[in-house]
Symmetry: C2
Subunit: 368 residues, 2 copies
Amino acid sequence: MEEKVIYIAGLGLIGGSIALGIKRDHPNYKVLGYNRSDKSREIALERGIVDEATNDFKEFAGLADVIILTVPIKQTINFLKDLATMELKTNVIITDAGSTKGEIVDAAEKYLTGRPVQFVGSHPMAGSHKSGAIAADVNLFENAYYIFTPSTLTKTETISELEDVLSGLHARFIQIDAAEHDRVTSQISHFPHILSASLMEQAGDYANTHEMTNRFAAGGFRDMTRIAESEPGMWTSILVTNKEAVLERIADFKDRLDSIAELISHEDEDGIWNYFNNARLTRKEMEIHKRGGVESSFDLFVDVPDEEDVILQILELLRGTSLVNIHINEENREDSFGILQISFKNAKDLEHAQKVIAENTNYKVTIN
Amino acid sequence: MEEKVIYIAGLGLIGGSIALGIKRDHPNYKVLGYNRSDKSREIALERGIVDEATNDFKEFAGLADVIILTVPIKQTINFLKDLATMELKTNVIITDAGSTKGEIVDAAEKYLTGRPVQFVGSHPMAGSHKSGAIAADVNLFENAYYIFTPSTLTKTETISELEDVLSGLHARFIQIDAAEHDRVTSQISHFPHILSASLMEQAGDYANTHEMTNRFAAGGFRDMTRIAESEPGMWTSILVTNKEAVLERIADFKDRLDSIAELISHEDEDGIWNYFNNARLTRKEMEIHKRGGVESSFDLFVDVPDEEDVILQILELLRGTSLVNIHINEENREDSFGILQISFKNAKDLEHAQKVIAENTNYKVTIN
């Protein structure tokens, strides 16, 4: 097997986890790393994430068969510019890990066209509330989408070569046009972050004059503002590099708010009912759609008393079953037991679980 | 102990659960029920939720010491009007369970003033994804807020008498002005439902022309649209009975969207950063605030591999510890293990758990 040299510029959570994933399937590959911070390089070397590390981006670039830029969007663009001036291996594959793709693909085409390199944009869709090389995890991308956005510098074999290099990440590789990637993610990620942050600020301001606001905030509000705790720097870069799509989503949403406000003003109960019902049906369809697709979800609900070790008792019954998620308290209650939601990988395990729990406990078991 | 007669009009999830809660502390009380549906009355009688049941609201009203209206908002108002024309026990306590309070309190004052009755509005803040007498649960309100909104028909002793009747619900009783209740809930519940439904509809429409929309929707989007699956009828009533506060929140939110759109248009990175950072700090403060309050939350994060029975293994280590919630996969990954989040009732249990897991596994353990 050919021994490749992989150069990962940026040894944070994403870069470090990619390095570990590459090594899982390709222990013979040499993985070189760049990071500005001494501490990050130290951790990456200690943990065996990389074989060698530098604080000078240019030092290893010429040695690499594959260069993966896992730095913030702006620095990614700066590095693409730098690479244009450097001696690189012929046919080196260059890719990145940015959350928006249009500006990065544009920059690659602008700076690297005419050079003997391949470029494809990448967006590995995973994250964590932790960060840094210390948090790097070989399983971070397991079953996550790893999106490739081709450029004019992408050759027929570029993506399959990269998929082979990254096979140990156990991700789901998928290709999509960069502009379309940015539009879709504006809708399902970037704009929702704006909504979440705006709702949080609104409630924060309201709490200044309405002191019960914080006290009564329950499950729904918590869910809707969870992503408002995301790292501001990354989201700032995302918004400025996906301006057009995001602004378009904001304008569209304001129209929707006007529509519902109009219905409320006129106390148009049928109209409001249809509004909510349409949203409900749309989400249910999305869920149903999931069942057939790759993101299958098979959920079981168990009513459990507020007693010690009740979850343990149920998990003991389910020993060996492929449960993929477990969650208590989705409802409007913050600190007592209630409904235990368990998700399984397939219908067979779901049915088995339902049977076992019904036979061995007197808890109510429901399938959604 | 005095034997009271309690009349619960509406034997759904809320009414049924209140009945069961009353009986837990007052097995000697006589609980009478009303429901239009034969099936609901049958279930309520079979399950011992009520002692007697009627399909004629007027039949039991005159027998009651306490009347609890647990029907939709409009029907609550109709029943208040009906009660004004009926022979009731002197000093009967009348209350309700509606999600908005202003219109109900107004109706009670309008129809019942001058009559020898007491009235206080109630909003028990709990719910479930299930409904009906079949789902009634004595623990539904455990630790949930049970809000009283006084009226001109509330006497000094009304609320304490009601708290005694309802003691078996194990809820947290609290008093607040009806109009203020409606303002606060517009911010933390009613308006967020509009946001969630609107985002869901927007994404649904977008998916028609951008097919990857459903595919890439991940944790954040799911969280933000979960409440879009709520029952449309109830939310329609809530919006039309809390029109003013909700419209005011919509208008305020549109201004906030304008502000962030302006920042994005001008690529004002500092401004955007501050916007996100402010939201993040506001939410973090809210969380910190929780620690000292009744809604304490002590969270532990464990990195777990995608292996069978790994949660079981951890819960076995924690046997006897007061864990209150457990959750996998808060992050941007839909169907593989990752970070297991376990919440405890107090700092002592949290520290104990951290120690035990660190000593007995090689999983990374973090305290947030």
